[in-house]
Amino acid sequence: MTTTTLAAPDRGTTRAQVRKYSAIARINVQNSLAYAWDALGQGVFVTLFIFVFAQLWKTTFKAQNVPDGGTIAGLTLVQTLWYFVWAELIQISKANVAYTIQEEVRDGSLAYTLGRPYNYLLYHFFSGQGGVIIRMVFILAFGSAVALLAVGPLNTFRPETVPALLLITALAFVLDFCMMAMIGLTAFFFEDTAAFRLIYSKINFVIGGLLLPVDFLPDAVQSVARVLPFNLILYAPAKQFVAWDSTQFLEQIGLQIVWITILAGLLALFFRYGTRRVSINGG
């Protein structure tokens, strides 16, 4: 029995490609379920995080003599805490594809993942997103529970914006993937990506909106942060979640698409160049 007789009649069509990448995402969901305790652990970790943030921001708002319902840089205490719930949801759920690619190069399993009939970068994108879904469920459940207990419900949340929020969040994951995959591909040349990963995570922390919403940063830093793509990964979706603004939303979505187009192009070029340089450990 040869490949010709085994091939599906629609091999090579868009439908077959959709089935292929869905199956890749699906097996990662299955694998994440086998690691359900790990996802649960991350949920517990978020509980601690949000609890600490709640204490910190309650103290900050009090120290600034902000009255009940008052704001700092346009956000109330409730909005600030719920902002961190959404920002942490993205930060902790997102796939660490840079590390995954690095390990493939190190342990030689790249010999399998690179040698299959799919687009290597799309394979990693869908692999990563499979695990994201399970982690998101746990983190959102735990994070929301603590935020509810600490500051109460987010009254500014508008349920009709859920599809838009999901879109901006999904694009944030795509943008993050482009950057992480770029870092991962450096493993084709340097083997170790730890330094690049550290720099990227610190940038996200400081000007990406993980430490503080970008609005809270000094004006000079804000102006830099807003032109760079990093704020579109954590800040933009989290801010829209707590303070919906349709004009800003359209602007952010547009910027996300522009950056994704640029980075995906660069990523494809980098991949083409990298595969010529790859050297695999073991054997």
Binding site: M1, T2, T3, T5, L6, A7, A8, P9, D10, R11, G12, A16, R19, K20, S22, A23, I24, I27, Q30, N31, A34, Y35, D107, G108, S109, L110, A111, Y112, L114, G115, R116, P117, Y118, T275, R276, V278, S279, I280, G282, G283
Partner: protein, 348 residues
């Protein structure tokens, strides 16, 4: 028979960072990085016909895996050409992937926490297989490899031998015309090794499958392959029928025996050398051309009740040394052309 693989002067060099030892070396490396060039594969040329079962053997670091990775399109060569089933592997990697399968013995491709059947399902989609044909194919492989009992057990719970058989099934699901097996028996015990060899033979016979097998286990070669290529320091140093290798270089066997009673100090076996002598047993080396293994085993059984007995091949490193020695003697005697000067010391 058609040619399915053709390599012409294939070469691969890697640039490897070189750092002097100690703290001083580490500090120096911060300011200036030195590289050295390692020639992993040095001008390998070979052809494979459809249905060949080729052993591509050599010690660790000989260039076997690098060659396989170039043949499967994972690595770009530094120089040379390759044609696998009409494709240039590194330029048409994705098209070629539908027609070849590979198993790397030291690297799992099955999802560790999931049962093998889940990986099979995934591969059905990745290789875009027809549903009914896939089911038939799966049934055939389950039977041929005897993996029915472990299909729904998480891979982490399988023994290495069980896992390897499932790995081979996974690589065969899409009906490849060439199967690259890189050290498939590594780490397996004697029984599991034999079971795997039987399964490989069965698949080869059933489908006229071309198999490119790398190993540093001489037993794999003896049992499975008709043709053998020995590679060392990236160069082909032997390319002939396995029977020729056996006749010339696989003559030596080591028999380990343990008796049910103590043996005397002057214990000896005719036409064999005692390598190690203990109270209850011994290690015996023999040249099978002088005295066959069966003959020695029979003599040992007659001597005293045997509790345990093993027959071992010489390690691959020793076979390589033998081939070098033979090559040197040819060169000294001035008989026949010698293509290249083969260094006796390690290249790295």
């Amino acid at each position: 028979m058609s040619t399915v693989v053709k390599l012409t002067h294939l070469q691969k060099t890697f640039r490897v960072k070189h750092k002097a030892s100690g703290l001083q070396g580490s500090v120096k490396a911060l300011f200036s990085t030195e590289y050295r060039t390692v020639e992993a594969v040095k001008g390998v040329s070979l052809e494979l016909q459809e249905g060949d079962l080729l052993a591509f053997i050599g010690p660790n670091g000989a260039g076997k895996s690098t060659t396989i990775k170039m043949l499967t399109g994972i690595l770009f060569p530094t120089e040379g050409e390759a044609n696998v089933l009409g494709y240039v592997p590194w330029r048409q990697r994705r098209q070629l992937a539908y027609h070849i399968g590979s198993v790397f013995g030291q690297k799992p491709q099955l999802w560790y926490h999931l049962p093998p059947v889940d990986t099979f399902e995934l591969f059905a989609h990745i290789y875009e297989l027809d549903r009914a044909a896939f089911e038939r194919r799966k049934t055939f492989l389950i039977e041929a490899l005897g993996i029915g009992d472990w299909l729904h057990t998480p891979v982490r719970k399988l023994s290495l031998g069980q896992r390897m058989r499932c790995e081979i099934a996974a690589s065969m699901l899409h009906g490849p015309r060439i199967l690259f097996l890189d050290e498939p028996t590594i780490g397996l015990d004697v029984v599991a090794k034999q079971a795997l060899r039987d399964a490989i033979q069965q698949l080869h016979d059933a489908e006229n499958l071309t198999i490119f097998l790398t190993s540093h286990d001489a037993g794999d070669v003896e049992t499975l392959c008709k043709r053998v290529i020995v590679i060392n320091h990236g160069q082909v140093i032997f390319d002939d029928r396995t029977s020729a290798l056996k006749r010339r270089f696989l003559r030596r066997k080591v028999i380990g025996v343990r008796f049910g009673q103590p043996i005397p100090d002057d214990f000896a076996v005719r036409d064999a050398t005692i390598l190690k002598h203990g109270t209850w047993g011994a290690k015996i080396e023999l040249d099978t051309h002088v005295r066959p293994v069966e003959d020695v085993i029979r003599a040992l059984m007659d001597y005293a009740p045997v509790v345990d007995i093993t027959v071992e091949d010489p390690p691959m490193e020793e076979i390589i040394r033998e081939i070098y020695r033979a090559d040197e003697s040819v060169r000294v005697a001035g008989v026949g052309p010698v293509e290249a000067e083969i260094p006796l010391e390690k290249a790295e």
